[in-house]
């Protein structure tokens, strides 16, 4: 056990391991690229959807069912399925990651919108605000903390799951996990796993820092 951790430490800190095409720096950049792009696409889909459902109060039933459906959908199966349908392309990775992230974003946005005090919305409407003013100037700012929580949750899940890109022959930190498993090289597998965990935790801490900074004037 001790030997293993010593090897792991050596693997993670050696200069050779960090440089080159199969180096940690390059794999890390790939991993971040997949994760951030997928989260961005998911936000572009999920945020308007959540806002619309929250603002109109229609389709809540669909949103809640979509969320539990999304939770139940096995990502590995989805990736393989899209891969078999589309062949060698980035589609399987992005479709699976976006499908993973959208439910968290929609449900949290919707939850944030329903948590807005109805009296505040009534007051805004009573002052003659149009629907888009109510949405963007009242509801959205008040729902923002929960929306951010949803984005964080989505990003964590996506970063963790982006390992799957390596399964369908692309890069990212998952490369180490799957190559290591294939080569029975436990140190490499664990190195990859540790890196993914560190990236996920770091991004989560960074976003929660941003969140705390943005809402520093608000009572908890």
């Amino acid at each position: 056990m001790y030997e293993l951790f010593k090897d792991l430490g050596a693997w993670l800190t050696s200069g050779d391991q960090w440089s080159g095409y199969d180096g940690i720096a390059h794999r890390l950049a790939e991993h971040l690229q997949y994760s951030l792009l997928a989260t961005l696409i998911a936000t572009a889909i999920g945020l308007p959807l959540g806002l619309l459902i929250g603002h109109t109060g229609r389709g809540a039933f669909i949103a809640i069912n979509l969320a539990s459906f999304g939770r139940a959908l096995p990502t590995v199966g989805l990736v393989v399925l899209v891969f078999l349908a589309s062949g060698l392309s980035m589609w399987p990775v992005y479709i699976a990651l976006v499908a993973l992230a959208v439910p968290s974003i929609v449900t949290n946005t919707y939850a944030g919108m329903t948590a807005v005090d109805p009296d505040v919305k009534d007051a805004a409407r009573g002052q003659g605000m149009r629907w888009h003013q109510v949405l963007f100037q009242i509801e959205l700012p008040l729902a923002l903390p929960l929306i951010m929580t949803g984005l964080r949750l989505a990003l964590i899940q996506v970063v963790a799951t982006a390992t799957i890109a390596a399964y369908v022959s692309f890069g990212g930190l998952g490369r180490y996990v799957f190559d290591g498993l294939a080569q029975r090289d436990l140190v490499q597998v664990m190195g990859g796993a540790v890196l993914v965990a560190v990236v996920a935790i770091t991004l989560d801490l960074a976003l929660s820092g941003v969140q705390r900074f943005l809402f520093r004037h608000r009572p908890a």
Binding site: M1, L4, S68, F69, R71, A72, L73, P74, T75, V76, G77, L78, V80, L81, F83, L84, A85, I156, V159, A160, T161, T163, Y167, G174, V177, F178, L181, L186, V189, M190, G192, A193, V194, V196, A197, A200, I201, D204
Partner: protein, 213 residues
């Protein structure tokens, strides 16, 4: 992408075995998750200083990717079912712990005081007053944890387990979509059925919530 129905007909036994194994892994994880969460939640509920620590810890554990948890457990428990169940259990903790604490918080103080005034001992109050009243919130957590576990079992296919997840590896390696489709559909079906059963269990266990509604 067409479904080869004859393959499904020829493999009903395999599909049944994998479905049972899949469900067993997911349910074991929820069971052990509850076994760990219940006492921890009681502690977090009673001892305020530990509350943030315990909930924070379960949050950090949740950020560790599932594949990473399985892999990191390899030196401890190897390529076994134990690794799968431990990994999944870790994941259920975040939901189960948070919901159980919230459930215990939601019990009205007056109800607890009434129990105390009637001379009910603390342990008895916990078992016969607090936990039953917290049940709806706890069950909401159990439902999420169960559906999540059922979906996550397939990740363990990378470490040679994974129940229905094995169909994904199989289909991928042979470039044959039928097992993959079967695996996805069966996983979704398991999740829907398990969720519906838990709703029924909750309905049967909490008759008092019906009268109010």
């Amino acid at each position: 992408m067409t479904i080869d129905w004859s393959w499904i007909g020829d493999h009903t036994d395999d599909l049944t075995t994998l479905t049972v194994s899949h469900l067993q892994a997911a349910l074991s994880a929820v069971f052990f998750g509850l076994l760990i969460s219940l006492p921890l939640a009681v502690i977090a509920h009673r001892v305020r200083p530990l509350r943030g620590f315990l909930l924070g810890l379960s949050n950090v554990l949740f950020t560790i990717p599932s594949i990473a948890i399985f892999v990191l457990l390899l030196p401890v428990s190897g390529l076994t079912r134990t690794t799968t169940v431990i990994g999944l259990t870790v994941y259920t903790l975040v939901v189960l712990l948070r919901n159980t604490v919230e459930g215990l918080d939601s019990v009205p103080v007056k109800t607890k005081e009434a129990a105390k005034a009637m001379g009910t001992r603390p342990l008895r109050t916990l078992l016969t007053v607090e936990l039953p009243l917290a049940l709806p919130v706890i069950m909401a957590g159990v439902r999420i944890a169960t559906v999540m576990s059922i979906s996550l079992v397939s990740v363990a296919t990378y470490i040679g387990d994974g129940g229905l997840g094995q169909l994904f590896t199989d289909g991928f390696q042979r470039n044959f979509p039928t097992p993959v489709i079967a695996g996805v559909v069966l996983t979704l079906l398991l999740a829907v059925v398990a969720d519906a059963l838990l709703v029924a269990v909750q309905y049967a266990l909490t008759p008092w919530t019906r009268r109010r509604a």
